[in-house]
């Protein structure tokens, strides 16, 4: 493809002209010169990064450096590593000339594109607003200045303050060279020494032919996870199981992969060990922040299942049919979302024969859409990798809200063809038309989650039900259903508390070494029951005074009710279409 655009003009052109969308990465030589790093000139510098000093973090004369020196020294004392063996100890501080040299040589073939960076560029909200990314007439609806994103939430926190330590869950991402990539709270600069320590711990244990997993204190669980050249660390006081925290880190890793692809990350670090990945992820902190908030507040990530918006099956069917009719070659998934819940998803037959869409991928996709309000404007065409599907390859996502300005109903069309923007946009037009004819939007607007009172069991306060006995199960998205959280779980705090109780039970019942079939837990403020069978997984919350007999009766009633309502609560028969007589060459098999 035509990749050798002039870099100065690149962003603009890329966005407006889908034809220069990145190729599959395999073909490109990786070249990361400063000139094509978006953060240099465009990125909203909301996090007080110092783009002028992307490399020599620890050499910088910023005020944190004193502390850094002390900590580094301390560490060196403690670990007593033979310095020649272990470079990670000195993280950024030992940036060598050879590193710079390789960067220089990389400059030579700089024009080659790196697709990952493009995605990220696309996702940086401020930037998109600035440039009026929305195509096809959406421009006018965007104010010139764009709303500067609210105060940079947690990024410029004082990392020595008690309030910083009090956070329920910290997440850090760093490179194998100890370079900070992401921190949920506090700037990466201020935390670079802490992250240096993390990396030192990882590599120290590694040097003993062992792998560090976690550290427990009375207050925190610290979980370490290495994925390729990235190290992810969770420091949590949530008392979740290690397995759960590890899963959350995996979500974080996969979200990064969804923007850059795994192959690209690997190649970047093969090429230059101490590359500062933030250059490619600039602006995407918000997406990771959003993901971590979701992880804490949305049980669908815990359950690895998708939450469908309850809908009369006739309405859901007609929506599916609308999607089924609006197709174009290489279209593989058509997804309709309302209020952050799934309405329907239609899948290409051939692709689905190959593999199914994993809930995890859908969560990442939904988070990506949710985290960036920029998507609310006009139409977006962006490459996205679905890591569970194939971590090394991009899909091309067309994202558009169907009900501006409310922006609750979102259409996502995934294609394997990066050139397909116009034809996919045409699909959207047809979908919009059909929905208008059927007045579908107003029907969707009436759909909402349900109250547990509809089940008609007095002591039952809340539940989560994940069936395994759906027809065609092995080919469809794992789903779950759950009512609204109602009194006494009105406040955010109480909702979190209930979720924590569910997480506890989930952790125990799915323990890797000692799984259980059933847990009945009578606690001070509620009674909980978790039950896993071959047909379903169920978590229920009762008032604390419920007797075991009435709890059992309640569950019998609940299961009966769900059976009766299953057509409304779940996508029972996932619809399909066929767009590609010959399976697209750029789909799954291609990247091997």
């Amino acid at each position: 493809m035509d990749q050798s655009q002039e870099s100065g003009n690149m962003e603009e052109v890329r966005i407006c002209d889908p034809s220069i969308l990145p190729q599959c990465l395999d073909q490109t030589d990786v070249a990361y010169s400063d000139s094509d790093v978006p953060s240099e000139n465009h990125c909203v510098n909301e996090d007080h990064r110092t783009p002028s000093d992307p490399e020599g973090l620890l050499e910088s004369a910023d005020p944190t450096s004193v502390e850094i020196c002390q900590q580094q020294e301390l560490l060196r004392d403690m670990l007593k590593l033979q310095t020649d063996e272990d470079r990670s100890l000195c993280a950024g501080a030992s940036e060598t000339d050879s590193g710079k040299a390789s960067e220089d040589s990389a400059l030579a073939d700089s024009v080659h594109d790196d697709s990952g960076e493009f995605v990220v560029t696309m996702l940086a909200q401020g930037k998109m607003e600035e440039q009026g990314i929305g195509m096809e007439g959406a421009l006018s609806s965007l104010s010139e200045t764009g709303t500067p994103p609210g105060p940079p939430s947690h990024r410029n926190e004082d990392v020595t303050a008690e309030s910083w330590r009090q956070h329920r869950k910290h997440v850090f991402v760093l490179s194998e060279a100890g370079k900070p990539i992401y921190s949920r709270y506090g700037s990466e600069e201020a935390l670079s020494s802490t992250m240096g320590v993390m990396m030192a711990l990882v590599s120290f244990v590694q040097s003993g032919d062992n792998i560090i997993r976690s550290v427990y204190s009375d207050e925190h669980t610290v979980v370490f996870m290495q994925r390729g050249p990235l190290v992810l660390v969770s420091v949590s006081s949530s008392r979740q199981s290690e397995q759960q925290l590890r899963n959350e880190l995996l979500y974080v890793y996969n979200q990064i992969v969804s923007m850059l692809t795994q192959a690209s990350i690997t190649r970047i670090f093969e090429h230059k060990k101490n590359y500062d990945l933030r250059r490619l992820l600039a602006g995407s902190e918000k997406i990771l922040d959003g993901l971590l908030n979701l992880v804490d507040s949305d049980p669908s990530l815990l359950l690895s299942a998708v939450h469908c918006l309850p809908l009369a099956s006739s309405l859901r069917d007609s929506l599916s049919q609308i999607l089924q009719k609006a197709i174009t070659p290489n279209l593989v998934f058509s997804i309709l979302i309302a209020k952050n819940q799934l309405l329907t998803i239609v899948q290409e037959k051939m692709v689905i024969d190959d593999a199914r869409l994993e809930p995890a991928d859908l969560h990442l996709l939904l988070n990506l859409i949710g985290a960036s309000s920029a998507f609310q404007a006009g139409e977006i065409w962006t490459p996205i990798c679905l890591p569970s599907f194939n971590p090394d390859c991009y899909f091309y996502a067309y994202i558009s809200y169907l009900d501006p300005p409310e922006c609750t109903v979102c259409l996502v069309l995934l294609s394997t063809d990066k050139e397909a923007f116009y034809s996919v946009a045409e699909c959207k037009r047809r979908i919009e038309e059909a929905m208008q004819t059927q007045n579908a939007l107003s029907s969707i607007a009436k759909a909402h989650s349900y109250s547990v009172s509809q089940v008609g069991v007095s002591d039952l306060r809340h539940f989560m039900y994940k069936p395994f006995d759906v027809p065609d199960n092995h080919r469809q998205l794992t789903q779950f259903t759950s009512p609204e959280m109602e009194a006494p779980y009105n406040s955010e705090e109480e909702q979190m508390r209930l979720l924590d109780l569910y997480r506890d039970m989930h952790g125990r019942i799915h323990s890797t070494s000692r799984p259980l079939k059933l847990i009945y837990h009578v606690a001070e403020r509620e009674t909980l029951l978790a039950w896993v069978t071959s047909k379903f997984e169920l978590y229920t919350c009762f008032s604390p005074l419920v007797t075991k007999t009435s709890a059992i009766n309640a569950i019998t009633k609940l299961l009966r009710w769900i059976k009766k309502e299953e057509d409304r609560l779940f996508i029972r028969y996932p619809p399909k279409y066929s767009t590609t007589p010959n399976p697209s060459k750029s789909s799954k098999g291609d990247a091997h």
């Binding site: 670990l79 320590v197 062992n210 976690s214 427990y216």
Partner: protein
């Protein structure tokens, strides 16, 4: 080390290794703060053969882990480090004194074809932190019982004396750690109390009072029967570790003569005394021996405040054992021991047979025990009372449990869940093997029941546990 007999897997042998002690060390970071002096930090290191730099590295890692966790909470540093191959437990019993125990994860060794070395698969989730953390704390308590605190030793004789004491104690003690059989009981560190009717209990109390009055040197007394405690004048925490020592170390070493029957040559000291069956378990083996030494082990109690050093005199007649503790400043003499022997011997013999009789009557009343449908562990945090029908007799080396290790670990999990909140709770779980496990926590008491009724439902399980509570916990724990 080989726990379970090798099982055959497709014609090749798989070896299963139980958790085992990899290393154990004690350091004080203040003792070698400068570069090049790191070795000075290390006060004790097992195994001793480890090369110096390796020791320094391992200590360094612990320091780094502790320091790292302080970034997030300065007052609550790391307690354990999990790695693929092992778990490390950290304990700072006295300021700046760190004890570290490294336990290797259980492992399955799978042989490879073509003469390749076998692959080791580590089972990373098998070790329960609370259990082994407690074992480490117990190591310190046991050291302190016989040696006093680290700081006192350091003050008295510097690093030299301290390291001497550490080496002398831990060299032997670590060999008695049986890490493969640690479980929930190690977390509780409880005391098994002997169930007794009021009359007999009063008899024992008055016996203790009489002896303390006649032998004014005696500062504290503890009375045990059948390895179970009946009376103790010590503080709870001191009694708990002393009890552990008596029941897992001292008593098992002395059971043989009693089992050996009256006429056996194994009982020379009894033969010499026809009036009673009393004898010293510590100190002189035979009072008649003209060369008998009157040296008793010294113990340290109340180390938090009065810091008392005492002689530990353990005297036994049949199944009754009494500990007399005497200020260590007083030299123990032949006269005192003879006085004690003649005063306590006959009375204790009498008491022991009284208790035995009472015990048999009670047993007869409750009828012959048929194998119950359940097994349980009970623990009371207030008086440390513990009762287990899961464990067979705990011997010096191993405590045998009558249930599958996985079920024991589920008990450990439930105990961890209980530890999270102060409120009363109940947790009932059904294991993959269809066993039901019930945990109840109420007002400082914890009860764990394993039910062997695989086809029972939740309601039946509940009924069963109710019955158990009604029959078993009405009057067992008289000290409540």
């Amino acid at each position: 080390m080989l726990m379970i007999s090798p099982r055959m897997a497709s014609g090749m042998q798989e070896k299963q290794y139980a958790p085992s002690l990899l290393s154990f060390f004690i350091y004080n970071p203040k003792f070698g703060p400068r570069e090049g002096e790191e070795e000075k930090k290390i006060l004790f290191y097992h195994p001793i053969e480890i090369e110096k730099n390796e020791k320094i590295r391992n200590v360094g890692l612990c320091e780094a882990i502790v320091q790292f966790t302080r970034t997030f909470c300065p007052t609550k540093p790391a307690r354990s480090l999990h790695t693929q191959k092992n778990r490390q437990f950290f304990h700072e019993p006295e300021e700046n004194y760190w004890m570290v125990m490294v336990v290797r994860n259980p492992m399955v060794e799978k042989p490879n074809k073509d003469g390749k070395p076998p692959t080791a698969e580590y089972q990373e989730e098998e070790i329960i932190d609370s259990v082994y953390g407690s074992v480490l704390k117990q190591c310190y308590s046991m050291y302190k019982l016989f040696n006093g605190t680290f700081i006192r030793a350091f003050e008295a004789g510097g690093v030299e004396l301290l390291t001497q004491k550490l080496e002398k104690f831990f060299y032997r003690y670590l060999q008695t750690l049986h890490l493969q059989s640690c479980d929930l009981l190690d977390v509780f560190g409880g005391i098994s109390f002997f169930p007794l009717d009021k009359m007999t209990y009063l008899k024992i109390q008055s016996f203790v009072n009489r002896v303390e009055e006649s032998l004014s040197l005696v500062k504290y007394t503890a009375f045990l029967y059948n390895d179970q405690l009946i009376w103790s004048g010590l503080e709870q925490d001191d009694m708990r570790i002393l009890y552990k020592y008596l029941t897992t170390s001292l008593f098992p070493r002395h059971t043989e003569p009693e089992l050996a029957g009256r006429d056996s040559p194994l009982r020379p000291e009894v033969a010499g005394n026809l009036l009673h069956y009393g004898r010293f378990l510590t100190g002189p083996a035979n009072l008649k021996d003209p060369d008998a030494k009157f040296r008793f082990p010294k113990i340290f109690v109340n180390t938090e405040d009065s810091y008392e050093e005492l002689h530990l005199i353990v005297y036994k007649a049949m199944s009754a054992a009494v500990c007399f503790m005497v200020n260590a400043a007083v030299d123990m003499s032949r006269e005192f021991c003879e006085q004690l022997d003649s005063l306590v011997g006959p009375q204790l013999t009498l008491l022991a047979s009284d208790i035995c009789e009472q015990y048999n009557i009670n047993r007869r009343i409750s009828g012959p025990e048929k194998e119950p449908q359940f097994k349980f562990i009970y623990f009371n945090h207030m008086n440390l009372a513990e009762k287990s029908t899961i464990h067979m007799r705990k011997t010096a080396s191993v405590s045998l449990t009558s249930v599958h290790p996985d079920l024991m670990k589920i008990l450990g999990d439930i105990n961890c869940d209980f530890a999270r909140v102060d409120e009363d709770e109940e947790i009932i779980v059904k294991a993959m093997t269809d066993y039901w496990v019930v945990g109840k926590k109420s007002d400082q008491r914890e009860l764990y029941v394993i039910l062997n009724q695989k086809n029972a439902n939740l309601i039946e399980v509940n009924e069963e546990v109710k019955r158990l509570c009604a029959t078993q916990f009405n009057n067992i724990f008289f000290l409540d």
